[in-house]
């Protein structure tokens, strides 16, 4: 067995380049000349080495290469998944912050509007009060003025009556030589005025 291995190794090293030239083709060695593919004498060797190399490749891939590639792909998948998760979480955070911000803004707006309304109401009340005061003042002044005017009017009317009575007195004395008392003249004037006014 060891002699076979030694022989294999020696031949592999020494004879490899020469082998192609030195050894004739398996098929042509016995004057074949047909298709090399149809030479059944090469079949055992081909099948044997096919099984050996295929099994070797299968073993290498199954135990070494495929786990490595699968690991790389899986790592990437995990990484991408983790990144996506993180992005989703950040997005949720941002949305929550936005909501909070909106709420604060709305609250502030409501507060501002309330203040504005209060101020408006206060101003309106003040205005109404001032207006009422002013109206009362004006009305009072108006009444005073009217009273004064009334008084002046009646005073003036009394004056007119007196003047008319004196005129009547003087006219009666001049025209008829009658001496008429002032009170009598006044009564007559008032009677006439009353008739005239009627």
């Amino acid at each position: 067995m060891t002699r076979l291995a030694a022989r294999l190794a020696r031949s592999a090293l020494a004879a490899l380049p020469l082998a192609l030239l030195a050894t004739g083709p398996l098929s042509a060695a016995e004057g074949g000349g047909g298709l090399p593919q149809l030479d059944t004498r090469t079949y055992p060797s081909q099948i044997f080495w096919l099984i050996v190399s295929f099994a070797l490749l299968y073993w290498l891939l199954k135990t070494k290469a495929i786990p490595r590639i699968a690991d790389i792909l899986e790592t990437r998948q995990d990484r991408i998944g983790a990144d996506l998760d993180r992005a989703a979480r950040l997005r949720a955070d941002a949305e929550a912050a936005l909501k909070k911000h909106d709420a604060i803004l709305a609250e502030a707006q409501a507060k501002a509007q309330k203040r504005l309304r209060e101020a408006q109401e206060r101003v309106a009340a003040e205005l109404a009060r001032h207006q009422a005061e002013l109206d009362a003042d004006i009305a009072k002044r108006l009444r005073d003025a009217e009273a004064r005017i009334g008084a002046a009017k009646s005073a003036a009317l009394a004056e007119v009556a007196t003047v008319a009575a004196e005129v009547v007195q003087a006219a009666a004395r001049r025209l008829a030589g009658l001496e008429v008392g002032l009170d009598e003249a006044r009564a007559a004037v008032e009677r006439a005025m009353g008739a005239g006014a009627r």
């Binding site: 592999a12 050894t23 398996l26 593919q37 060797s45 081909q46 080495w49 891939l61 490595r68 590639i69």
Partner: protein
């Protein structure tokens, strides 16, 4: 002119005889191991950085991985992902075999251009999928060969046809890959040979055969990928049949 079939010849590199069988280490075996080494190196080198944002090599690895995973998921369903390592190995092994066969080396070799290799792969898929079908569904898996909604009278005719079409799968699967690789490589060699022949016999600059060879080379790269893809997709579809039965 060199024999265009010479590229398919198998040479013993290390003669090994075990139990009367010739299991010699050949150029085919060497390229199989190189394919394994390249596939493994690509995946390990690409994932060395373990970068969150992949570089170029890591992108290649990840794209390949997701491409095959997508194939399995789309064609065999979520349950099919259990068999993803096997499908991934199959895809990489065939892809590497096809692509390494495109290397313009004097000792270059395309192990997928041998029917016995593709047939062994296809048979492995076929046997594995069939066993899986029976393990998952028991004898109920046999109803897979009875088409739904077919009239009873037709069944004696339809069931043998279904069984036959099922059993032909490994042949069509393997012959498709083998023929594509062999025909393409032969064509390339033939047209490349024309360049030499034209020039050495008549001293004519062989523009036309050169152009054809260039075009064929690009075409062959496409075929190399496409055939690996088709083999993988069909494997996924067979897996789907075994898991879901239609």
């Amino acid at each position: 002119m060199a024999d265009p079939l010479q590229q398919f010849e198998i040479h013993r590199l290390v003669p090994i005889q075990i139990a009367g069988l010739d299991l010699s280490f050949t150029n085919s075996s060497l390229w199989m191991l190189i394919a394994v080494g390249c596939a493994y190196w690509l995946l390990i080198a690409g994932t060395r950085q373990h970068a969150l944002v992949p570089g170029r090599l890591q992108s290649v690895v990840e794209l390949t991985y997701e491409f095959v995973a997508g194939l399995v998921r789309d064609n065999a369903g979520k349950e099919g992902l259990r068999y993803f390592p096997l499908v991934f190995t199959l895809f990489l092994f065939i892809l590497m075999g096809n692509m390494l066969g495109m290397l313009p080396l004097p000792f270059g070799f395309t192990f997928t251009s041998h029917i016995i290799v593709t047939f062994t792969l296809a048979l492995g898929v076929f046997v594995g999928v069939t066993i899986l079908g029976f393990v998952l569904h028991g004898t109920h898996f046999l109803t897979f060969f009875v088409p739904h909604g077919a009239p009873k009278a037709m069944l004696p005719l339809l069931v043998p046809i279904e069984i036959l079409s099922y059993c032909v799968r490994p042949i069509s699967l393997s012959v498709r890959l083998f023929c594509n690789m062999m025909a393409g490589h032969t064509m390339m060699k033939v047209f490349a040979g024309f360049i030499v022949t034209l020039f050495s016999y008549w001293m004519v600059p062989a523009i036309a055969p050169l152009a054809v060879t260039v075009a064929l080379t690009g075409f062959e790269f496409a075929v190399a990928f496409l055939q690996a893809y088709i083999f993988t997709v069909l494997t996924c579809i067979y897996l789907h049949d075994a898991i879901h039965m239609h």
